[in-house]
């Protein structure tokens, strides 16, 4: 919860947010999302939450259907990149809170690997920030993914466009 503005004032708006752990091991559960939402119900200046969830698809490749993605990262650089994205988004959009979580390790098909949660007084800022942040994550954070196929252990390296 250190990435919420309890009171929106010029002084607090100027503070630098401490870097914060983004990576979680394995999939992000729906319950984790619910707990994050519940923790924001005491923040009574929030009018809008925009949540983005990235879910692993069973895409069909030459080698078969994707059964999961195994994520790895250049963790220190990635945490720095997430921090820079967060600061940038706070300066661009009028947000009250912002939380980003990304999986490392195996995330099976149908499970969630990315959870971006932004909150604002009015909805426009939350919508705009949500899309912006996800785009930034896809292009700027050194995260790597192996798309796994079937029991034979075949895989293809994923590449964001």
């Amino acid at each position: 919860m250190d990435h919420c503005y309890w009171f929106r004032s010029k002084v607090i708006m100027d503070k630098i947010h401490k870097p914060k752990k983004v990576f979680v091991q394995g999939p992000i559960s729906p319950q984790f999302v619910a707990d994050s939402i519940a923790r924001h119900q005491s923040k009574v200046n929030i009018g809008a939450h925009a949540i983005f969830l990235g879910q692993i698809r069973a895409d069909e490749k030459e080698e078969g259907f994707v059964t999961g993605i195994e994520y790895s990262a250049y963790e220190e650089m990635a945490e720095q990149a997430f921090h820079a994205i967060r600061e940038d988004a706070f300066s661009k959009f009028d947000l009250t809170c912002m939380h980003i979580y990304h999986s490392l390790g195996l995330v099976p098909t149908g499970e969630i690997s990315l959870f971006v949660f932004v909150s604002s007084v009015h909805r426009r800022a939350a919508f705009e920030a949500s899309e912006y942040i996800v785009d930034e994550i896809k292009t700027k954070v050194p995260i790597f993914g192996k798309e796994l196929m079937g029991p034979a252990g075949e895989y293809v390296w994923k590449e964001n466009k």
Partner: protein, 81 residues
Amino acid sequence: MEMTINILYFGMLAEITGLASETWLLKDGLTVGDLKQEIGDKYPLIRDKKFKVAVNQQIGDDGTKISFQSEVALLPPFAGG
């Protein structure tokens, strides 16, 4: 002057080198462009791959200088999200 530089490999590049990192002995004042040349000589398979080079956790270009305290990493295409 020579310097030792720790180079990190990620994703498919780590697969090609068979290593997560290794320490190179390189001449001081080397650029990212020079380093890519040397890496391509040692690991010809890497030449066909798209990758970026981060110096001190910032993406560099061919002109970026590498000094003896630099942390260098070879990054294949990103796949987050």
